[in-house]
Amino acid sequence: MRYTNILALLPALIVLPVSAAQAEAYPSTYSPLPSDATLITRATILTGTGERLEDASLLMSGGKIAFVGEGDVPAGVTTIDASGRWVTPGLIDAHSHLGVYPSPGVKAHSDGNEATKPATPNVWAEHSVWPQDPGFSRALAGGITSLQTLPGSANLFGGRGVTLKNVYSTSYQGMKFPGAPHGLKMACGENPKRVYGDRKQLPSTRMGNVAAYREQWIEAQKYIADWSAYEKKLADGKEDATPPKRDLKLETLAGVLKGEILVHQHCYRADEMMTILDMADEFGYKVTAFHHGVEAYKIADVLAEKSVCGALWADWWGFKMEAYDGIQENIALVDRPEGSCAIVHSDSGEGIQRLNQEAAKAMSSGNRAGLNITPERAIAWITSNPARSLGIDEQTGSLEAGKMADVVIWSGNPFSVYAKANQVFVDGALLYDRDNPDLQPVSDFELGQLQGVSK
């Protein structure tokens, strides 16, 4: 019997401390910045839901999208004539290391891999995030309004990722996306076996990777059972029952088995992804997204059928053996089946600044292979699909009434090397304006550098 089935039998009133601890710890203190009601008119709008509207309007009010297309406009709104310009949802990067591998990339800032043990699901990336990373400002200028910062891939279980609003704050809590679930970064393939194999430790092989994963899941199952037994004793009136010892590692893994934490699995090869999917079935959890997946095109139908996203690069390949079969049509081929969830991710402080161009490359590679992909479809790769993979698609990732007003006005068609994000709104607040230096944030690190140099 799979563990999910056991969990389903638990009485609903039993609340495991697992979830209580997660819900309360290190809570988000983010609140939207002040905004004016803003009407964008005469724009070409890509909604992120597959639609393209011409000469259309969009109203932001109270931090939310009031309407897209046409609707009632209250008096006194700020109006932006976006003739000739394009409007999209704020871009979302499902795979970033901003904050945990910040600029400058000095050793003292190397906070993304707790490469001391192959299984560290107890660590949380947010506890490494440096909110002064200058990379956040560069990403904002590229239209990024939300991102997931993940631990690195040295470990089988790398730790929890955190989803952030791309706003400057003195604390990461001030950036933390309200209500977003945690992600768990897992890594298969070369990295863990290289890091630990070089130290003559498990894992040194791919089969060692899988054995080590499975052992951890078995422990997590026991952890859930122990807590369930304890809760049952309490429910039976045995008030002197001793609770099991809290375990940060197993709390995270139990959170995955309970469906509260989303699995972001770094994996390159098609055969390894298939193994991971079987392992998820064995232990009754779901893989939310494969990341990097340079061979995802080989199993595009399986990913779509199992509703697993592929968070991928447009053209990276060859930097290691498991990246040798990368092709430029990977994203387009993963996008092809019904029910697919293709995502363009960056994994890079440079790439996150031009996710739109990465999507443009992937789209045109696909079109040259005869796949006929339109901008209104491809925009989902960098908006609604990553939102889905982060569990924030109810709040953002598309331009629909009632959603967060995370919006970008582009100088033109964003699927171009020449397009620039002119204005970027986060929850309706204008946080970046290319024409107004006052609305271009500068991190503490960069302030006052290079004195005497005239820019």
Partner: protein, 415 residues
């Protein structure tokens, strides 16, 4: 494209890799000559015996040759893939497939990567079908601040496709600190000592930095040959200019994140810059001044700028990098030049690559749109007069997996 092209493209797969130069006519292109003639509308280019024979309007078409009707599309010189290890590496992390640096803990400027070049590397087709006809094989500093030497190679797949003179690579600044006693001042100490040894061999070999061959190499470069200094910080760039001037070295700056801060000095010293226009993060303390309009500022100041930095596997990204430089203020023609005529002139190979001129080796690319646009692609690639099959290991993998639900395992699909 008309049907003629379709027919001929279909036959290209049959060519052997040692294809001979063909007779080819490209009709009605917008020809970016990157030479004195500028851009020529609706112009024909006739290629035979590996060379550009004629450029003109309504040229006569001999029988039985390859004809491409460009219909006004851009024809440019083949693009420069930057300083790379194409043909020197296969998989970066597979150590035994990488030969781009000498990891001996000695100063060996005589090291030269050229004998390691493998024209059958999968990177050669992957790169050239994206419109790239040449690259500069670099030598990475692994054991000392002298990386060693490299050379230009045309990506036509030949064993002997090298051209131009040897180029010496030296690293200074942050990256080289660990190779010079953990001080960048130590780099200049070592570099000065090495140059002095080249002129005045030490009496005792025990304290010598260089081998006899190394001294010979450095002596050569004080007379002729380009010396590429990989350096980012403005103050280090100025020190490089002083050093090069002192020893009569013909310097080229590689990287140059803060080059814009010393644009005037670079222009007056006539020292060109190979740069990556995407660098705009303060990734380290040598590049606090990095910015997206670095290329535009340098070009406006009269510095010759070329693009480098996309690496080996993804060298095709050089186009996007030049497009970004244009997006941030560089004139479009200068953007094309940064991938063609500028790198050719910087390394003294303008008679081989970088422009479309009569009697030059035919290195041309026909594009389906703006060559600097991310949605554009190369349609026809000709390197040293050879029509390049638009195939690579990657296109074959694509074609193997493009068909849905094949009956037999895909191992039986062999595009």
């Amino acid at each position: 494209m008309n049907t003629l092209k379709t027919i001929f493209i279909a036959t290209l797969a049959a060519f052997s890799i040692a294809a001979q130069a063909q007779t080819i006519m490209i009709r009605g292109a917008t020809v970016h000559t990157m030479d004195e003639e500028g851009t020529l509308e609706n112009t024909d280019v006739f290629i035979s015996d590996g060379k550009i024979q004629k450029i003109g309007k309504n040229l006569a078409v001999p029988a039985d040759i390859y004809v491409f009707n460009a219909e006004g599309k851009p024809l440019t010189p083949g693009f420069f893939a930057g300083v790379s290890s194409i043909g020197i590496t296969e998989v970066s992390a597979v150590e035994e497939s990488y030969d781009g640096g000498l990891a001996l803990d000695e100063i060996r400027p005589e090291f030269n990567v050229v004998p390691a070049y493998n024209p059958h590397s999968s990177l050669v087709p992957v790169t050239r079908i994206e419109g790239f006809s040449f690259t500069l094989l670099g030598a990475d500093p692994k054991g000392s601040i002298f990386g060693g030497q490299g050379r230009m190679v045309a990506l036509d797949g030949g064993y002997e496709s090298f051209f131009g003179g040897a180029v010496l690579f030296i690293n200074v600044g942050r990256d080289a600190s660990s190779l010079s006693g953990k001080s960048r001042a130590g780099q200049w100490m070592l570099l000065n000592q090495a140059m002095n040894e080249a002129d005045n061999p030490p009496v005792s070999t025990e304290s010598a930095l260089l081998t006899r061959a190394g001294r010979g190499t450095l002596s050569v470069f004080t007379d002729s040959g380009k010396v590429v200094f990989d350096v980012d910080r403005a103050s280090d760039i100025l020190e490089t200019l002083r050093f090069a001037n002192k020893y009569g070295l013909d310097a080229v700056i590689l990287g140059g994140a803060e080059a814009w801060m010393v644009a005037e000095q670079l222009a007056s010293a006539n020292v060109p810059v190979l740069l990556n226009p995407l660098v705009n993060l303060p990734g380290n303390f040598d590049s606090l001044g990095s910015r997206l309009d670095n290329a535009a500022i340098l070009e406006a100041a009269g510095v010759t700028v070329a693009i480098s930095g996309a690496g080996s596997h993804n060298a095709r990204k050089q186009r996007q990098m030049a497009g970004t430089a244009v997006s941030y203020g560089m004139p479009h023609a200068a953007g094309i030049a940064s991938l063609t005529s500028n790198p050719a002139r910087i390394f003294g190979v303008e008679d081989q690559q970088g422009s479309i001129r009569r009697n030059m080796p035919a290195n041309v690319v026909l594009w389906n749109g703006d060559p600097l646009e991310v949605t554009s692609a190369a349609e026809v690639v000709i390197i040293n007069g050879k029509l390049i099959p638009m195939e690579s290991r990657q296109t074959k993998l694509r074609d193997r997996y493009l068909s849905e639900n094949p009956e037999m395992p895909r191992a039986y699909i062999k595009p």
